[in-house]
């Protein structure tokens, strides 16, 4: 009991709680660095991790805005996949990289806007709407692409790859989200809604407006993520962004943003979490762990983080359940 209180007090410390994910990231790096005999820390390997983490990082950074308000969007993967498909079609029709970029952004934002509108029209929570769309969008992807691959062509994206455009996109998008989350009314409002919706409403906060803006901003992330996927892979197939949904949720939670949102949400969870998830996959593979076990280990980490970040009061649960 004594230890339990100490841990909970430590987790309540705002500085400790804020920087814990970064500490974990360093600990993970050290662990794999030592256990793989240094091969994990080779520059080439670290570059590979970074490249893989960027795509999840972009989408997950936007998703933090949604999660912080206590909402969830589990159609991020499907939305990104369809956005990729539309954007590639635009490119194939126009051969314009700029139009493909704009199409990515517009479709990404349109998806998230649509979820909010449908939630308002059908009076269903946004989470329920995204659950419905999660499978619908994957089926749509299968139906449109099937076994084919839609190719943009390596020549078309070579310049962008050499300029490391996905990383530039991540840096700019993260900067925007960071400012919004940490320094504006919207960021504070979203976290407060995540803490207590009733209290937020009684304090005069319009939840639907704040959550809609969060969704639209995360739609921008979906668009940018989709564009980055095309730049990186120069093609789109039936399995593009297949595991993205799970990776995004895992990244956010691993890096310390509670599933229930609120005050402990951190905007850098998207990036830090994406790096952690990729590092775990990479490090465990280097250690020769079977990929089936890797999934299990990720699951265990996920549960531990949910437990640590959860808002369990000392007495029986009452909050947010009514």
């Amino acid at each position: 009991m004594k230890n339990k209180i100490k841990i909970s007090e430590l987790l309540d410390n705002r500085y400790f709680s804020y920087f814990l994910p970064i500490l974990l990231l360093f600990a993970l790096t050290l662990f794999f660095g030592v256990t793989t005999g240094g091969s994990f820390l080779r520059l080439q390997n670290l570059q590979m991790i970074l490249n893989q983490a960027v795509l999840v990082g972009i989408v997950a950074t936007g998703a933090v805005l949604i999660y912080s308000s206590g909402n969830m969007n589990i159609a991020m993967g499907g939305s990104t996949a369809i956005t990729c498909i539309v954007a590639v079609h635009v490119y194939l029709a126009t051969e314009s990289m700029l139009l493909m970029f704009l199409a990515s952004i517009l479709v990404g934002i349109a998806f998230m806007g649509m979820f909010c509108v449908l939630s308002e029209v059908f009076k269903l929570s946004v989470v329920v709407i995204t659950v419905l769309f999660m499978t619908m969008l994957i089926s749509l992807q299968e139906w449109i692409v099937g076994g084919k691959t839609l190719k943009v062509g390596y020549d078309a994206v070579r310049n962008l790859q050499e300029m490391n455009v996905p990383i530039i996109i991540l840096v700019i998008y993260f900067a925007i989200c960071f400012v919004v989350f940490e320094f504006t009314k919207l960021g504070r409002t979203l976290k407060f809604i995540g803490e207590n919706k009733n209290c937020a409403r009684q304090t005069g906060i319009k939840e639907s407006a704040a959550v809609t803006i969060a969704f639209l901003l995360s739609g921008l992330g979906v668009g940018l993520g989709a564009f980055s996927i095309i730049v990186r892979a120069s093609s789109v197939g039936g399995t593009t962004a297949g595991g993205l949904n799970m990776e995004v949720v895992l990244a956010i939670v691993l890096a310390g943003t509670p599933m229930t949102g609120g005050n402990k949400s951190k905007i850098f969870s998207g990036i830090v979490g994406a790096v952690m998830v990729t590092m775990m996959n990479n490090g465990l593979l280097l250690l020769g762990v079977n990929s089936i076990y890797i999934q299990a280990i990720r699951g265990v980490f996920f549960i531990i983080m949910v437990m640590l970040s959860g808002k369990r009061p000392e007495v029986l649960p009452v909050k947010d359940m009514v």
Partner: protein, 500 residues
């Protein structure tokens, strides 16, 4: 005659990090007696009760229960050994039925081949409810459909069902309706009559004097004294709790007038549930008291005036601004503030720091360049309240859940004071608050009146209404049954006549 002791606590100390909640407390629970436990917020009453009931473990010290060492690891172990507790916080699970809540941990009683016989469980639960006199609650109901007062009655049923030898009631009476209190006290005296012991924690000294055989006073985590029935004296107990003599007027003593200017008006409002064609006005600089039995509709009225409850007919208008209040958002924008009776669920974000709870009301005023919030301005905005309201906290970043009831309420007040709201709707603002903080709250409310602010004070405590209000509206069955003007001669019995 020597009293038989059921449980003894010796040198019990409890530390929460750097905070010492209990400091070498010696305490005994006597068989067949009703014992009151009093003290200011943060004096350690609930901590002591929680240690006895296995919710917390002491940092040092020993306990003996029925002659044996007592070191319960959790509340279930305590419950199984005959120590039942009704907590200050909600102790029911909303997504379970009333029956499931009552028999939580005892499902095996109704289990056959891995299947729980729900019908038998419901029947047994209905028997328990009937036994304690809870007529309006059925075992099949989901807990989330019940209001706070009914949930407490379910907890009473749950504790009673365990046939406790020691029955602990932690600040429960202040959330119970008139009927609920009757149920509880009937049960308490029944248990005491059967040779069982009852421990009541309450801020209501008069209530304790009426029902207890002995009262133990705690202050700053230390035992002050234990008084026997013949030593009971309200003033003496209050002085022992605070550690000094309480001087000056508890309530306001003035007869200051208020303006004729009407700020808020309810015109023939009717709701689907409780209110029927109710009309009222609130004036500038007025403290308008609203009283009645707990289920008379006064709590709903508070919500309706703030736009938190849908109207079936009539309207609420801010007359000066010609704004119809239909949503809390509009109410706040036009200078209204609301402090809910259900403070923990509606008025505070419990897992957020004090800072965030107060700063949230000032996002518009603390902006620099239209879009950005100034951290510096926000800090000043929050600190003014933390210091001005003398909140007892480690810093403004302390999590609200860890504060005492009085300090939590100060955070809820601070949010609106900082915003500079003009119309305050306060639903039971001194519920569960000790007399020291209560006195501070009354002073604050009076100062607000002097500043020209208007206050609607909804309260179940008649002395508070009579002592603080310029005008009192008494409600009965969803309508106003009587209006009283401020007067030094107004007595409780005069008012009660229009409540029942």
């Amino acid at each position: 005659m020597e009293q038989e002791v059921l449980l003894t606590c010796k040198s019990i100390t409890k530390d929460f990090g750097a905070t010492r909640a209990l400091d070498s407390v010696d305490f005994s629970v006597v068989k067949g007696k009703v014992c009151g436990l009093v003290g200011e917020n943060g004096s350690g009453k609930s901590t002591l009760a929680s240690i006895i009931a296995g919710i917390y473990q002491s940092s040092s010290g020993t306990m003996a229960y029925m002659g044996k060492e007592w070191t319960p690891k959790n509340s279930l172990e305590a419950q199984n050994n005959g120590i039942g507790i009704i907590l200050q916080e909600a102790g029911t699970i909303p997504l379970l039925s009333v029956a499931q809540n009552i028999f939580i941990g005892q499902e095996k009683l109704f289990q056959k081949n891995l299947i729980i016989n729900k019908k038998a469980m419901n029947k047994a639960a209905n028997d328990v409810l009937q036994d304690i006199g809870a007529k309006n609650i059925r075992a099949e109901m989901m807990a989330r459909m019940l209001n706070m007062q009914e949930l407490k009655v379910v907890e009473i049923a749950k504790a009673y069902n365990c046939d406790p030898r020691i029955f602990i009631v932690d600040e429960t009476t202040n959330v119970l309706s008139h009927d609920g209190r009757e149920i509880l006290f009937r049960l308490i005296h029944k248990l005491a009559g059967e040779g069982k012991s009852v421990l009541i924690i309450s801020h209501d000294i008069e209530e304790l004097i009426e029902h207890c055989d002995m009262i133990t006073v705690l202050k700053d985590g230390k035992m002050v004294t234990t008084l026997e029935k013949h030593e009971f004296d309200a003033k003496k107990i209050k002085n022992l709790m605070v550690g000094r003599e309480i001087k000056g007027d508890y309530y306001r003593s003035d007869m200051d007038p208020y303006s004729d200017e009407v700020l808020l008006e309810a015109d023939n409002i009717t709701t689907l549930g409780e209110l029927t064609n109710l009309s009222m006005q609130l004036h500038k600089g007025e403290i308008l008291g609203i009283g009645g039995l707990s289920d008379c509709g006064m709590h709903t009225l508070g919500k309706v005036l703030y736009g938190e409850e849908r109207l079936a007919g009539g309207k609420v208008t801010l007359t000066q601004k010609n704004v119809t209040v239909t949503k809390a958002e509009a109410a706040v924008k036009n200078g209204m503030a609301y402090i809910s009776k259900d403070r923990d669920r509606e008025s505070l974000a419990l897992d957020a720091p004090i800072f965030q709870n107060i700063a949230i009301s000032g996002l518009d005023v603390n902006q620099i360049v239209n879009f950005f919030v100034s951290g510096k301005k926000e800090k000043q905005y929050v600190n003014e309240q933390v210091e001005g309201l003398k909140m007892r906290c480690r810093s403004e970043y302390q999590i609200v859940r860890t504060l005492s009831g009085g300090n939590k309420q100060k955070v809820a007040f601070g949010k609106w004071f900082a915003k500079g709201s003009d119309i305050f709707i306060m639903d039971c603002p001194t519920r569960g608050i000790d007399i020291g903080v209560k006195q501070e709250m009354y002073r604050l409310i009076y100062n607000m009146k002097k500043e020209g602010k208007s206050i609607i004070l909804i309260s179940e405590e008649l002395p508070e209404l009579i002592g603080m209000s310029d005008r009192i509206l008494i409600m009965k069955n969803g309508s106003i049954s009587k209006e009283f003007m401020r007067s030094g001669d107004l007595s409780e019995s005069e008012v009660i006549e229009y409540m029942i």
